[in-house]
């Protein structure tokens, strides 16, 4: 232990009303610390009703000034609650805030134990641990890095568009990168939006146009981010602009090429596989930008070497078969990921027959089916393309809330099911059944919509559908799809014949979400959604400074929430931009070059690529701005050359000794 340092430590025990004092003998604890921990340098130990109150803080500040404390230990609640409070107090009193330690004797002692004697003993150990640790603390300064005012937004769905507009309108530049030929995302495919049933396109397209024409927004569609380096304030990003084979300078978006193209292809992106497009195509009428793209795999010219119909008919000569992919380098200060979701593949639930039974549709297929701009111009018909269904069954939770597939609730399906029910009623007058496990309509005006659909006469069956089959057991089942389900409220198995089945396929993370996360240095939950910094208090930030998430990339959510998150993420970015520079927690690792043997073991360990090997000196070095302070390299360095501020070996070893200090003491009666 290190008395030699002659630190002057103050220990402050909080009663937290009776929260702590109820189970821990706080007075005794303070007295004990004052006497038994003298040798560690404790010069004063006090207890007080509420340390976090202004009076409590003043008490500490006063001691720092008058008793010349060089270290402070506050035995109170979890550091996650009040560490900042007491650090600020120390700062005000002129003591470096990182020389303050919190000993959690509420969450870890008084609230989880009952026996007062035992609890007090444990509290002593915890305090002793904190005291011996704080002595090893060193003064730290926050690290400041400048912020590049430009922002990269990945994903041009409604969340990404919203983020882009917020930042652009605030007067800062945005690069909006979208994988598909047009922005708009899933929302552009929908017909109506719940609960107000206003037309999706009507509310979305104005935003798309605004984003497409905004002076502060550089739109990069048919593009993907291929490389990311740097750190908050100064990221370097490489974007691949895939060849469109259309010269955007010359193209007017007249769509003649699309019209003349002889090659018809099933469109399984925008039309959800329910309709067709050409080999050169504009995904949909209101696409932004309006330029078409050529689908190389299906283009007759690229396959056979002849055709070029598009080129012949293009009035401006914009078709360019020799166009190559371009790589564009961008420098940005912040990044927002709004990469959205993939739809669960309903074929995996084989007992629902999607892919086997023609008249089983997915929710996205139905969106296109009911969309006036869709393949059937809004006519709700069976797979044969003409027959109107007389009865329709809507099945909820397909691939959601199911350990065999996705364990979580996809959030939107209940409301979507209600919306579908309404549309089917309105357009076909068919009988509609909704099969649900639980109706989840918790949001403004959502349950009212449920009521409305009930009024319209939709039939609700509480039960997870067991199977959809075309095997009739009786005459009235012949030629129908039979939905077999236990009506759990009636307690009976029912077989309900319908003409059409709609599966509410769940939302799931993008197939490449993990790879994207790794590329941007953020993590995914076990389900595969991007992990937010704090599930409640910091839902759009990530563990990586300068990288934010919005929309379904963070988890299933509806349009209002996606828009709100898009805006929220922008607010966080703007806050960073306006600060012009950012302060980073000084919990970092650093390499002592003299000790470093250049073994490079640490190089591969860092998930943030913060460790680089300096060939000239044959040593490894850590970029403090990239380092997130996890300390893995510190633990791994065989030469002990890497040390981590805030959590150094010395501090932790000292804390271990402190925690076990009691065991070394002679047992008292």
């Amino acid at each position: 232990m290190s008395e030699k340092k002659q630190e002057r430590v103050g220990v402050y025990v909080c009663h937290c009303g009776t929260n702590i004092a109820g189970t821990v003998d706080v007075v005794g604890l303070a007295r004990w610390a004052g006497e038994k921990l003298k040798h560690l340098g404790v010069v004063v130990a006090r207890e007080y009703k509420f340390m976090c109150s202004s009076l409590g803080q003043e008490l500490i500040e006063k001691d720092i000034k008058e008793l010349g404390l060089t270290r402070v230990v506050v035995a109170a609640c979890s550091p996650h609650l009040h560490e900042k409070t007491f650090r600020t107090a120390a700062k005000n009193a002129g003591l470096n805030p990182y020389l303050v330690e919190l000993a959690s004797i509420r969450e870890q002692v008084s609230w989880v134990h009952t026996d007062k004697a035992v609890a007090t003993e444990k509290a002593k150990a915890v305090v002793a641990g904190a005291v011996s640790r704080v002595i090893e603390n060193v003064p730290l300064e926050e690290i400041k890095v400048p912020i590049n005012p430009d922002t990269l937004i990945v994903g041009g769905g409604i969340a990404g568009i919203q983020s882009a507009l917020e930042i652009a309108n605030a007067g800062f530049h945005v690069y909006l990168v979208e994988r598909e030929p047009s922005i708009g995302g899933h929302m552009a495919q929908f017909d109506k939006t719940f609960p107000t049933l206003d037309c999706s396109a009507c509310i979305l397209t104005p935003r798309m146009v605004e984003a497409g024409t905004h002076p502060n927004i550089t739109l990069m569609t048919w593009s993907e981010v291929v490389n990311v380096s740097g750190y908050v304030g100064s990221f370097h990003v490489t974007v691949k602009k895939k060849a469109r084979f259309v010269n955007e300078e010359l193209c007017t978006g007249c769509a003649i090429c699309q019209e003349k193209c002889p090659k018809k292809v099933i469109d399984d992106v925008f039309e959800a596989g329910l309709g067709y497009r050409k080999a050169i195509y504009i995904p949909f009428a209101q696409a932004v930008p309006k330029f078409p793209v050529m689908d190389k795999e299906n283009c007759t010219y690229f396959i056979k070497g002849t055709c070029k119909a598009c080129e012949k008919f293009c009035p401006t000569g914009a078709i360019d078969f020799n166009q190559q992919d371009q790589y564009v380098d961008l420098d940005v200060g912040n990044i927002i990921l709004a990469t959205g979701y993939d739809l669960f593949d309903a074929r995996r639930v084989s007992n629902y027959g999607y892919g086997r039974l023609p008249n089983v549709f997915t929710n996205l297929e139905f969106e296109r089916l009911s969309n006036a701009a869709g393949p059937t111009s809004g006519n709700i018909v069976l797979r044969d393309g003409k027959t109107t269904p007389k009865s329709v069954g809507i099945i909820h939770c397909v691939g959601s809330r199911d350990k065999n597939f996705n364990n979580y609730c996809s959030v939107i399906c209940c409301m979507q099911g209600l919306k579908f029910a309404h549309l089917v009623h309105e357009r076909t007058g068919a009988t509609v059944y909704n099969f649900y496990i639980d109706m989840r309509t918790a949001y403004k005006a959502y349950d009212e919509f449920y009521q409305r659909v009930l009024e319209e006469g939709t039939l609700f069956v509480r039960g997870k559908v067991a199977e959809v089959t075309d095997v009739a057991r009786s005459e009235h089942e012949k030629g129908k799809l039979i939905i077999q389900v236990e009506d759990t409220l009636a307690g009976k198995q029912r077989r309900i014949p319908v003409d059409m089945v709609i599966l509410s396929s769940g939302l799931q993370p993008r197939h490449d979400a993990k790879a994207v996360g790794k590329q941007f240095g953020i993590s995914c939950s076990t389900d595969g959604w991007f992990t937010e910094k704090h599930p409640k208090l910091d839902p759009v930030a990530t563990m990586t400074e300068g990288i934010y998430i919005a929309g379904c990339a963070q988890g299933p959510k509806d349009i209002p929430s996606s828009v709100a998150q898009g805006a929220a993420a922008s607010a966080r970015v703007l806050d960073k931009i306006l600060q012009k520079e950012v302060a980073l927690e000084p919990i970092k690792a650093s390499v002592d070059h003299d000790k470093c043997s250049g073994c490079r073991i640490c190089n591969g360990l860092c998930p943030f690529n913060a460790i680089a090997f300096i060939e000239d000196d044959q040593v490894s070095d850590i970029n403090p701005a990239l380092c997130q302070g996890c300390g893995t390299c510190v633990a791994a360095c065989p030469a002990g050359a890497i040390s981590g501020t805030g959590f150094s070996d010395e501090q932790i070893m000292a804390q271990i000794d402190g925690l076990l200090f009691l065991n070394l003491l002679p047992v008292e009666a």
Binding site: R356, P358, R383, G528
Partner: protein, 331 residues
């Protein structure tokens, strides 16, 4: 040469001896060697489990324990009976999932001087090894008398594709293994959505009315879809559908005549074997009429392909093979 340990199961020597005969007949051409487990005992079917847990699993485990003694060159036990296959696989699986069970069962085995470490053996069903080890191509090669024109309803039954602890099958509800095999034999496989519906299991013995209805669904389904006969992979299924079909007809006043053969018998026929050698004729619902179709040159049969791929109308997504999907799955 593929070598396996064989757990025949009781019915293979009695009600399903046609299965055994036909199996023996196709081993040689397929270059498969089966070594019967010495002195194996009954797996308890679905009955023992319902009486007393530990004895039930000890009964099963004795066979596994015995098998481990013969593991020269192979650790795979093949069971031609779905119920046996499931029981053996289940014991192995649960003894691992539930250490408490492992301990108790081994304690019991010890009384007989035996022991079994879960995971030692790989329990698989006959059709599994034929399709995935021997392979459809190898089988195709051996076909000398394609079953052209024979309309077969592929019936997999319950206990084969479910619960499927080891994810061996292409699907739980609509597996393709039997279809593919029958197609390889040149048969015309009808679309048979009931392929994994239940045959009634032991209900034929204890709750006939329940069983008859299940049998009716299966037979009617095959009949309506124009099948000449049903192909099965399980003695219990065969027994229920074949032996009780008459009684079922009596019960409902129907007149179905749906022969039920083991897939091995059809393989034998395709390999040019003599029907008697394959135990054909042992079935109670005669397959004579159905088999008359074989060899008879019929005009190009109208495709039994599922009605999904319509030219006009709206396009459909392609079918999905879970086994493939799982391999390619990112997560």
């Amino acid at each position: 040469m593929n070598k396996y340990l064989l757990y025949p199961g009781c019915s293979m020597e009695s009600s399903a001896k046609a299965y055994m005969q036909s199996l023996n007949a196709i081993l040689e051409p397929l270059d498969v060697q089966l070594e019967e487990i010495e002195d194996w005992n009954c797996c308890g079917a679905t009955e023992y489990l319902g009486i007393n847990l530990v004895p039930a699993y000890s009964l099963i485990a004795r066979n596994l324990a015995l098998a481990t003694k013969q593991m020269n060159g192979t650790r795979t036990v093949v069971a031609p009976c779905s119920a046996c296959y499931l029981n053996l696989a289940k014991a192995d699986y649960y003894m691992r999932e539930r250490p408490a069970l492992d301990v108790k069962v081994n304690e019991a085995l010890a009384a007989g001087g035996l022991q079994y470490k879960p995971g030692t053996l790989d329990v698989r069903h006959l059709i599994d090894v034929l399709v995935y080890d021997v392979g459809l191509d190898a089988i195709k090669e051996k076909v000398s008398r394609p079953l052209t024109g024979l309309k077969v309803a592929p019936y997999m039954g319950c206990m084969l594709p479910r619960p499927d602890y080891k994810h061996r099958w292409s699907d739980h509800e609509h597996p393709t293994e039997l279809n593919d095999l029958l197609l390889a034999l040149g048969a015309e496989v009808i679309d048979y959505p009931l392929t994994t519906s239940c045959c009634g299991g032991h209900m034929t013995q204890i709750g006939p009315e329940t069983a008859f209805e299940l049998i009716r669904r299966l037979v009617a389904g095959a009949d309506e879809r124009g099948a000449h006969l049903m192909a099965t992979v399980c003695p219990m299924c065969q027994l229920n559908l074949d032996a009780y079909q008459g009684e079922m007809n009596g019960f409902f006043g129907t007149e179905y005549h749906m022969p039920v053969l083991f897939f091995t018998q059809l393989m034998g026929l395709a390999f040019g074997k003599d029907p008697d050698e394959l135990g054909i004729g042992l079935e109670l619902v005669s397959s004579r009429g159905a088999l008359a179709n074989i060899g008879v040159k019929v005009t190009q049969p109208e495709s039994a392909g599922p009605r999904r791929k319509k030219e006009e109308g709206l396009p459909m997504p392609p079918r999905l093979n879970k086994r493939q999907a799982e391999k390619e799955a990112v997560r």
